[in-house]
């Protein structure tokens, strides 16, 4: 049985374990119909031209993990931003780990999707927001919607700000030979609310893991959301990240995506602007080697006047790695005075590495500022020579230049300890001691 058939037929079993009377279940039922109709995307579709899911579909993934697995904090501490105090929502093989988590209901709700879907007190919010911005016809999103049951639920009321950043961590223990995970996150920041989230998916063995994640983010007027995605997983872990963001006037939502690992990673990052004076910012650093594959697909839909979007993605590709950047910007006719900037700069450090980069601008308004630029290059020989004349060997000089190239994306990271971590990951990934403390 192929993966699609297995998933569709598993839906009946899934229904035995959820409240089919809940209105969300109607959404699930619709979603599985859509997935059954469409199946997995293939490379004939423009959006999947450079990323194939064929080999993943041949793997016999477990859809429902068998046992409840535990982890010792000391064994996974390194994956947390343990330098500072954080709220933590932690899942092990898709199951919530209360032992490793630190949730709260103190003025804000930082807890679980399963709770939000089952407790009456959350029903009103779920009715309004659940699946409100996520696509109803993109097949992988609807696959996630069909099986949506667990994930992070974060609700920050008007004028509130959690005391500390929130970490969402997903561990895979390898207890299953191959595991499919489908976390579903809902994040709501009401007027003037502010929050910071760090998300990470981490497999702890070499067994296959495929995560198909959907995150919906709603930022009301003046809300500020910082979302950091740390993608540094092991060789046999693949991730399809579908993030949908709906913004109201004067809100600022920044998503930073740091892609350093994993087998196949696809980031579908979609912004919808539903107000004026909105700032939508997407930044990415991608550093790949071996046969790793990362595909960034961004969409910003400017639907109101006087808004901004900023995209800055930097990539460094070595060995046989492959990168894709596709940045789509739609400016509706009504969205005058839009400022949309997009930048994608890439360095190829191996003859066998590949990058496919494509800006896609659809502009229907006439008074807008839109700019885009893609570059693909090697390291600047003059800059290398400069460093060498100071006595820095070529290899270290190259690393220093790549570090500098990636570094300026980090300027907007607002958690200093995270910035330090990412700096170190970049240095490690480039494989060279830089001779000074970052």
């Amino acid at each position: 049985m192929d993966l699609k058939d297995k998933l569709v037929s598993s839906f009946l079993a899934f229904e035995n374990n959820v409240d089919v009377e809940h209105p969300v279940h109607d959404i699930r039922s619709e979603a599985i119909k859509n997935f059954e109709l469409k199946g997995f995307p293939d490379r004939k579709q423009e959006a999947w031209k450079y990323t194939s899911l064929n080999s993943l579909q041949k793997i016999d993934f477990s859809i429902f993990p068998k046992g409840i697995n535990a982890l010792e904090y000391k064994d996974v501490k390194q994956y947390f931003l343990h330098e500072i105090d954080t709220y933590k929502i932690v899942f092990i093989d898709g199951v919530y780990s209360s032992f490793l988590s630190e949730t709260t209901h103190d003025g804000v709700d930082i807890c679980l999707m399963s709770a939000a879907l089952s407790k009456p007190m959350y029903k009103q919010i779920i009715d309004v927001y659940f699946n409100a911005v996520a696509s109803k016809d993109e097949s992988l999103t609807t696959l996630n919607t069909a099986f949506s049951k667990e994930g992070a639920y974060i609700y920050i009321p008007k004028n509130k700000m959690p005391k500390k950043p929130i970490e969402i961590l997903h561990f895979a223990t390898g207890n299953e030979a191959a595991l499919l995970l489908q976390p579903r996150n809902l994040i709501i920041a009401e007027e003037n609310a502010e929050l910071q989230i760090i998300e990470r998916h981490q497999s702890l063995t070499s067994n296959e893991v495929l995560t198909n994640s959907v995150t919906e983010i709603f930022a009301a007027k003046n809300a500020i959301v910082d979302y950091y995605k740390v993608q540094n997983d092991v060789d046999n872990a693949s991730l399809i990240d579908n993030t949908y963001i709906s913004q109201k006037s004067n809100s600022v939502v920044k998503v930073h995506t740091f892609s350093f690992g994993g087998k196949l990673t696809r980031n579908n990052l979609n912004y919808y602007q539903n107000g004026e004076y909105i700032d939508s910012t997407m930044k990415g650093v991608t550093i790949l080697g071996e046969k790793q594959h990362v595909d960034h697909h961004t969409l910003v839909h400017h639907r109101e006047p006087n808004c901004e979007s900023h995209q800055d993605y930097k990539g460094i590709y070595g060995e046989k790695s492959m990168g894709v950047f596709n940045g789509k910007i739609i400016v509706d006719k009504i969205a005058q005075k839009t400022n949309a900037f997009q930048q994608n700069n890439n360095i190829l450090i191996s003859d066998k590495a590949t990058i496919n980069t494509k800006p896609q601008l659809e502009i229907f308004a006439d008074d807008v500022k839109c700019s885009h630029g893609c570059t693909i290059g090697q390291l600047d020989e003059e800059a290398l020579f400069y460093l060498q004349t100071r006595g820095i060997p070529k290899k270290e000089a190259a690393a220093l230049l790549m570090y500098a190239f990636a570094n300026n994306v980090l300027a907007s990271v607002r958690i200093p300890e995270l910035k330090m971590r990412i700096n170190k990951l970049i240095a490690n990934k480039l494989g060279v001691q830089l001779g000074f403390d970052l």
Binding site: F385, Y386, Q388, P393, N407, G435, F436
Partner: protein, 250 residues
């Protein structure tokens, strides 16, 4: 210290240097002048080991050792320093951290341990005072957003930190106002000793009023067409380069 013997060099078959002979002894300051495109910067880059240039004839010796097949970093470890006309910007790496990396790489090449932090700080303080460099400047990203003057001053600061045996200053005066020029020149003069040598590459005589050369060479079409003492620089300032170009044709 430095001996350039019948040096022919170029890029992809285009010869830029056509047989340069030059000897620089310890304690000397040499100025290399010449019109645009005469090969001044190429000569500087070739001495510093830029791989883009191919040496087709002749050689370069440092203290009697042929520098053939010696990488730019190895030349730096042997004491050659090149101050760039257009220093490169390195965002995210502070001036201080860059200097630490450069100094410790040189020490590593000589089999020494990293310089202790307190010693490094002392050295940085001492040398930054010499170039009248503000503390805040040292924590800024290397050359990023620096003015022309700041970049050049930073180049000489790096020279002061690395204490080279042979320093080549390529158009260090370009982009400097008179105050900055004085500070840079003072710095260079204080670094001058009987054990090191300096080659000043410049288009104009102006810098040579502050850094007084022992010898002046005029480069034209990749060849030294005239050598003399500091008076030659004044003569060039007065007459331009054309009379020398004609001379070289004869």
């Amino acid at each position: 210290m430095l001996k350039v013997n019948n040096l022919h060099a170029g890029v992809e078959g285009n010869e830029i240097l056509n047989g340069i002979n030059l000897e620089v002894k310890a304690g000397e300051v040499h100025a290399i002048m010449g019109p645009n495109g005469s090969g001044k910067s190429t000569l500087a880059s070739v001495i510093a080991g830029k791989e883009e240039f191919e040496i087709t004839e002749g050689n370069i010796e440092l203290n009697g050792v042929d520098l053939k097949d010696t990488s730019p970093e190895e030349r730096a470890h042997k004491g050659i320093f090149l101050s760039f006309q257009y220093p490169v910007e390195i965002p995210g790496v502070s001036v201080t951290n860059f200097m630490k990396t450069a100094i410790n790489e040189s020490r590593k090449a000589r089999g020494l341990e990293d310089m202790p932090a307190n010693q490094m700080l002392k050295l940085i303080r001492e040398k930054s005072e010499l170039l009248e460099i503000d503390r805040k400047f040292l924590s800024r990203s290397l050359n990023e957003g620096f003015s022309g003057g700041e970049k050049k001053r930073n180049e000489i600061f790096q020279m002061a930190m690395l204490e080279p045996k042979l320093a080549i200053l390529d158009e260090t005066d370009s982009g400097l106002d008179i105050d900055a020029l004085r500070i840079v020149a003072n710095g260079v003069n204080k670094l001058k000793s009987k054990d090191n040598a300096i080659i000043v590459i410049t288009h104009y005589q102006r810098l040579l009023e502050y850094i007084v050369p022992d010898f002046v060479h005029v480069l034209h079409d990749g060849k030294i067409v005239k050598s003399g003492t500091k008076e030659l620089a004044l003569e060039l300032e007065e007459k331009g380069y054309d009379w020398l170009k004609n001379e070289s044709v004869v």
